[in-house]
Symmetry: C2
Subunit: 519 residues, 2 copies
């Protein structure tokens, strides 16, 4: 049996939760004029206000004690120094090393030179493409980049490309193909010129079926232009070369970087091509700055630790099954999807690192959408539904455009919603007392985006440490993958299938009967 639920800190939190049953945020603000100061953190140009939560000083003290009791400090040190924190796969998880400039030994080898050499190669390549020195077929300047990857090789770069669009002047357009649904690839290819298109294929193993299937489709589309157009990001140099990649066009994807933490590696190449290597460097610096904050700040002042503990508080002591991510920023439209992967793939675990089934909840459902759109969609439930949904509200003070009055409307809504969720209006059917975090950055720059993404990476790590689970593996994706591979040949012929349960047989046979409708 895992020890967590029996631990003194956990038991103390359970008792404290009962004592907090009638906690009323409005009253807590009235009782403590310093509540905002006491329950908010600033780091650099970022503000994390967590005062609109169902917590008091005692809650935070007990949560901090839990973090200490569960060895968060020690596990963090193991993470940073390259210990094999991904025990099930016997690997370290060194995304932090990708944004550091200090030597680090992995199995006796300093990885810093590899990291720096790869960044240098990325810079040379990126500069060459953007300046027109590296061209497409027939000497055409590269106008478009297609990045083919899925999951961890897709969501990070896609998010950042969109978020940093204001920095993309002068660079090629960057497109993403991830879904094996060929409609995705055809939509991207429509209107592009093979002679002016660069194609990046990102897959650690270079065997991911979705990525390779799409890569073949796009290679066919490239035709004779393929030779100069292909780039790979992979750990499998041999397969990438066989696919048609020149050696100097193969960028490394190291074993010690997990897919969903790989944005900071050469997987970020499409980002660098779109916004330039200087901006990619600033993204790394922002993330590194959050690493340093996480490593050095006392738990009480650590943004990742505080965010993680609040998550544990609602997840495990209030039964909140989900939390919402609400960027008031159209450029962060993909943040909920990115955090879905980061958090749910890391934390959707039912056994501890020792293989023992947990007797408490682990990862929650992450979901969300940009405000103000979301206000006209699901906010009804946030305000008046029966479910407790803690929410992270994220915004930037300063826009990239000149319509400052319109930005003020966006921000007025941002401020109003967390106030409305907390204060409510009981006479009008709004119970209030609904919790939220507010994260404000000065401006959404490469640097602050790096801060923000690393903040969530470390939040997820702290939560897994507390649960005793491994934040860096994903064994749950294997079963379906194996089964799909087994089914695929059986879909090709017209014979009815009877090898599976009656439901699966029935579905497959319906497909076989209807896939050539002629409509």
């Amino acid at each position: 049996m895992p020890t967590l639920a029996l631990s003194p800190a956990w038991q103390a939190l359970k008792a404290h939760r009962l004592a907090m049953a009638g906690a009323d945020m409005v009253k807590m603000f009235a009782a403590d004029p310093q509540r905002f100061e006491n329950f908010s953190l600033r780091h650099d140009c970022m503000l994390l206000d967590y005062s609109k939560n169902l917590v008091d000083a005692e809650t935070m003290r007990l949560l901090m004690a839990l973090a200490r009791e569960r060895g968060v400090g020690n596990e963090m040190q193991r993470l940073f120094r390259g210990d094999k924190v991904n025990a099930s796969e016997n690997r370290p998880a060194l995304h932090t090393a990708l944004r550091d400039d200090r030597p680090l030994l992995v199995d006796g080898v300093d990885i810093l030179p590899q990291v720096e050499a790869t960044l240098a190669r990325m810079r040379a390549f990126t500069d060459g493409v953007r300046a027109g020195a590296i061209t497409g077929s027939g000497g055409k300047k590269i106008a478009d980049v297609i990045h083919i990857g899925i999951g961890g090789s897709h969501l990070g770069p896609a998010l950042v490309t969109r978020a940093l669009a204001p920095y993309s002047t002068g660079g090629p357009r960057v497109h993403y193909i991830s879904n094996v649904d060929a409609a995705a690839a055809y939509t991207v290819l429509a209107g592009l010129d093979p002679a002016a298109t660069l194609v990046i294929v990102a897959s650690k193993t270079f065997t991911t079926i979705e990525t390779l299937t799409n890569a073949r489709l796009v290679r066919d589309w490239l035709g004779s232009a393929a030779e100069g157009a292909l780039v790979a990001v992979t750990a499998n140099t041999r397969l990438a070369a066989e696919f048609g990649n020149a050696e100097e066009r193969i960028f490394p994807f190291w074993d010690w970087v997990g897919g969903r933490y790989s944005l900071w590696s050469a997987v970020g190449l499409p980002v660098a091509l779109g916004v330039g290597m200087d901006n990619f460097d600033k993204l790394l610096q922002g993330a590194h700055d959050m690493d340093a904050h996480f490593r050095d700040a006392p738990f009480e002042h650590s943004m990742p630790v505080v965010l993680a503990l609040l998550g544990i508080w609602y997840n495990n002591f209030f039964g909140a099954a989900s939390y919402a991510v609400l960027p008031y920023d159209e450029s962060l439209a993909l943040l909920p999807a990115f955090l879905q992967q980061l958090d749910m793939e890391s934390s959707g675990k039912r056994v501890t690192r020792d293989g023992e089934p947990v007797d408490y909840d682990t990862g929650a459902i992450v979901w969300g959408a940009p405000g103000t759109d979301a206000q006209h969609s699901f906010f009804q439930l946030l305000h008046q539904g029966t479910r407790l949904v803690p929410a992270d509200f994220i915004a930037a003070c300063e826009p990239h455009h000149a319509a400052h009055a319109q930005h003020a409307i966006l921000l007025a809504n941002y401020f109003a919603q967390t106030a409305a969720l907390m204060n409510g209006a009981p006479q009008d059917g709004f119970p209030g007392n609904r919790p939220s975090n507010s994260i404000l950055v000065e401006k959404l720059t490469p640097r602050t985006l790096g801060l923000l993404l690393a903040l969530y990476e470390h939040k997820v790590f702290v939560q897994n440490t507390i649960w005793g689970t491994n934040a860096f593996d994903q064994p749950g994706v294997e079963l379906g993958k194996r089964l799909a591979a087994r089914m695929l040949p059986e879909l090709e012929n017209g014979d009815p299938v009877a090898a599976y349960d009656a439901s699966t047989n029935g579905l497959i046979n319906f497909y076989k009967a209807h896939r050539d409708s002629g409509n």
Copy 2:
């Protein structure tokens, strides 16, 4: 006190839930060779397989009894015949009338002529634009349509425009602006020609701040081309005319159509412009066909009733706080967002139609993403997390493209995942026994899309009927809106704000200090 939780059918379900504690789907399939036939429904070219659920014949019998006890049949009749089912707003909810060809009296007036006249106007306008007879400024053919709306005036048309992209040949490109974040508008406008662009502003009241703010931004961009470019969909003809719309360019938005059910009205104009009015008619016909199925089929054979009851089963008897929508179809990428609004805004309620606080859960969190992408993201949690997440898997047998072998890969994954969720592999850490519905259509056509969307509309209606809640109002959006309007003028000056709680003051003042960073 609401009567639901004390009703005989509810109590019987509670007892039955205990009896089902050890229910094992794999064993139930083994025990009943007809389980697939018994627990699946076909309608037209659509299959709903619900056999992979934690239900047996007794479960379904008790759930059907609940639907009957709660008067679902009667409430459905009230819906279709135009009774004021939206009691809090004293209005009927007549989205079904928008796709019907039979007379219907509302307050003594037959609405069919209005509906038909509007469809005829939409056809004339759409045909004119697509043929080049209705042009932009200086006689230019319309190349682009911008639709400005938010929430109900946005998500439906945006979903359908994307889903029916294979039918858009020959039509103008259609773009959407919803978020008040001006970055959204600027992104759409980049590269468009005011003289070849039509701009639709959709707002029932023509006062929605996001929509009107964006409309003004776009009108400024249009400059002298605005006169011929503006179109409105609204119930407020006066304000639309004052904004600059010619009378014949104002399409009606009736009081008896709720925003999130308005796709089928003139709010669908951008869809019709993109894919042609014949295809929009087929969309309506598909939805009407689902209406007829819902109205006429016995509950046991009714897809909306079955889907709704399964939702109630997990929501109220298993404590499932969310369900996932997983389209294995890139063109349905916006379906989770559309259903978030449809379901959560309808069902996120804490009082019954009589104003009594509920003592049971109502609406669940709706979330999801297209497969196979989602497999490489959050499926880890679906397979091995600690939470029960019922899921709807949606796919089409036949693709619109010729890459049939690649479509088979997509479908192999579709079949494999529900099988893996159910069967599991306990020796490998997959507990299995995780429920799902599979919805398969022959092909994603305008008609089958209409079937699918109306299926969920009626599902949501049935669930609200059982909970005794109003599926057609959204009072929870008002408080934040009022507060934002009050705050807005206070954001304009540089003075510190002290009028709110300390958190809200602190956030606003951080914004004021950082909004002109100069970075």
